[in-house]
Amino acid sequence: MQTSLPKLLLSLLLLATFAACEKAYVYEFDEVSLGADSTGRAPRARTNNQFIRSLYADLLARTPESYDVVLEGPTGEELGRFGIDEEAYLLFALDGVGDPAPLRELIAAGITGSEALALPAKDEVDDPAAFIIDWFRRLLGREPAAHELAAFVAEWDEYDAVGPRTVLRALVGSREYQSQ
């Protein structure tokens, strides 16, 4: 499939809708805090804002940034540029869903598939258990329990689809990671 420049520009205009939305209406948009209250042993859910910031910190080792995306022509000449504010844009998208979980999963899928993270391919991981343990530590701040490690390694061995990216996606999609 090929993508035309006009269609990209249309997409960018959709992005621009984000800014326009706030100006077009005079509503008071209160920040929605998901999981602000908790009771007993139940975990406190991370807000969308907290989730985005932790995802960038834990996967990309940086905070969300604002930058210009540059469009170049066939010979490298600049055709145009537009600004992206990673945090604001992703929060805008997350604000558009009731339960943010499915969209959080897809954002994680996008980042874990990005060149910026550059995860190894499955066959490049010599020691799956070590890889899994390492990412448990980095994302959950703990060692995997024995049954968790066994289950993850078994899945890794049994299914082609289970590899570095799925391990990370599962970890950041877990209730444990998504809780404060």
Partner: protein, 483 residues
């Protein structure tokens, strides 16, 4: 055939509920049939034209035929002249200074001839404000709901009633809104018998149904256009990988207690279904899935393509969800016409586009197996606007913005268009002898929309009983709509 009384009493099983329903519907129940609802409609879609739409512009066509696909070009309320009106009277500076409107040629026969149009619906109580009007349409109760995203509808929504009574998934009840923010509050009530576990699935397409997620999550900052393609980023989420993530996630979640914060959280199956739907959009390298030019509704883009409007984008994705999930209930909030606070011409434009969108939605329904002839579509403004202009940003034709909220007749006089297999065709009505204890309007009211929807779905008794128990005046099922 009139809507059968069993529609309302069905599934009650409790004498109190049946009594409450009988008291509520009273003399309007004219025919009794045994068995199911006896209706062909299996689902209800409510398109709530939000932001405030006055009778004078829509049915009165005071500035031309702003909704020609729905209503044609001859005013449908008195006081606006007997003959056909011309096209919409945009101010010349608006035409010159804004992108051209793109919409299909107007239908030769207006849609209202396929159903019943109530020209004197009354938003009788409550503030004519954002959220309160929509809250009335999703809950069937006038309210003073706060404009907060974490607010809760005071009484059960149609979404919750349908899901609880039918035991269905979150994908059986959808709430799509042209804007997010506090509109997300309408997905559920705080009623302990219902609440977030039965919430509708909320989506405001401008954010999630856009290039934001694949573009931003890719982190790519430079694209090379080779004359043919750009290689735009996508998100790949194969079924095998999604299943693997779910299996691994369930291992992890087994160690962590459920949240107990009262927020809306979908089940793992619902989450997977919604993720799959969104993921399908993000996997499309053409980005056409967000809003294909073939929709043919929007504004002319600088490059000659089509820019969607928020309303058009919302209706397009409502269609995609309807055809994919075939839910029992969907409510769609449009809001572009609310530009009217500051931009009267934008208000007129919003009506033209909403009109084109509703027609397209109906044609999609009627051309889709599993939706055709089994879907009721109710189109209704959430409320109107003031009878007077506010003096802000007047155009060269002397028309300034119009606000809403004070509750004059401009705010409260609206209409309802009912399309579907059970509604009478070609009927334009304005009943004035609708009787109910506490109803002073003598007319059908905005609260009747949700009650009629609930009754079509076989749950009118549940809604009536609940509202009665909470001290609210339930709406009536609008008998005159039905064959």
């Amino acid at each position: 055939m009139r809507i059968p009384r069993r529609t309302f009493l069905k599934a009650a099983g409790v004498a109190g509920v049946a009594l409450a329903a009988r008291r509520t519907f009273g003399p309007l129940i004219r025919t009794s049939h045994a068995g199911s609802t006896g209706l062909a409609a299996k689902r209800v879609v409510i398109v709530a034209i939000g932001g405030g739409l006055r009778l004078s512009e829509s049915l009165g066509m005071a500035d031309g035929a702003t909704m020609p696909n729905l209503f044609g070009s001859v005013p449908l309320v008195s006081g606006f002249g007997p003959g056909a009106v011309g096209p919409v009277a945009f101010a010349p500076e608006f035409v010159a200074g804004t992108p051209a409107i793109i919409r299909p040629a107007t239908a030769t026969t207006p849609l209202h001839t396929q159903g019943t149009l109530v020209t004197n619906l009354r938003y009788a109580e409550g503030p004519p404000g954002h959220l309160q009007g929509h809250c009335t349409l999703v809950s069937g109760a006038y309210n003073q709901m706060e404009n907060r995203g974490d607010a809760r509808v005071p009484t059960p929504t149609l979404f919750e009633i349908v899901r609880r009574e039918r035991g269905t998934a979150a994908t059986d009840a959808w709430y799509l809104s042209a804007v997010g923010g506090f509109y997300r509050a309408l997905q559920t009530s705080a009623d302990p018998d219902f609440g977030p576990r039965f919430a509708g699935t909320f989506l405001s397409p401008a954010g999630p149904m856009s290039a934001i997620v694949p573009l931003v999550s890719s982190g790519v900052r430079r694209y090379r256009f080779d004359g043919m393609s750009l290689g735009l980023p996508t998100i790949q989420d194969t079924p095998a990988e999604a299943a693997a993530v779910r299996r691994l996630g369930s291992i992890l979640d087994g160690n962590t207690p459920e949240y107990a914060d009262g927020e809306v959280r979908s089940s793992p199956d619902d989450r997977a279904a919604i993720r799959e739907h969104l993921g399908g959009l993000y996997a499309d390298p053409t980005y056409e899935s967000f809003y294909p030019d073939s929709v043919g509704i929007g504004l002319t883009a600088d490059d000659g393509g089509i820019d969607s409007t928020n309303d058009a984008l919302t209706v397009y994705h409502a269609e995609q969800i309807l055809t994919r999930f075939k839910p029992s209930v969907m409510v769609v909030t449009l809001l572009d016409i609310d530009a009217c606070h500051l931009d009267y011409n934008g208000y007129l434009r919003g009506q033209l586009l909403a009109d084109a969108c509703v027609r397209r939605l109906w044609e999609t329904i009627q051309s889709t197996d599993g939706l055709r002839n089994e879907t009721a579509l109710l189109v209704v403004p959430e409320h109107g606007r003031h009878l007077y202009h506010n003096g802000r940003y007047p155009d060269s034709l002397g028309r300034s913005g119009i606000d809403h909220g004070e509750g004059d007749d401009g705010d409260r006089n609206v209409w309802l268009l009912a399309l579907g297999p059970d509604f009478r065709a070609g009927q334009v009505i304005a009943p004035t002898a609708i009787a109910q204890s506490g109803r002073t309007s003598g007319r059908y009211e905005s609260v009747d929309v949700a009650m009629t929807a609930a009754s079509i779905l076989g749950h009118g008794d549940v809604l009536a009983a609940k509202l009665t128990a909470l001290g609210k005046r339930p709406g009536l099922t609008m008998q005159e709509l039905f064959r």
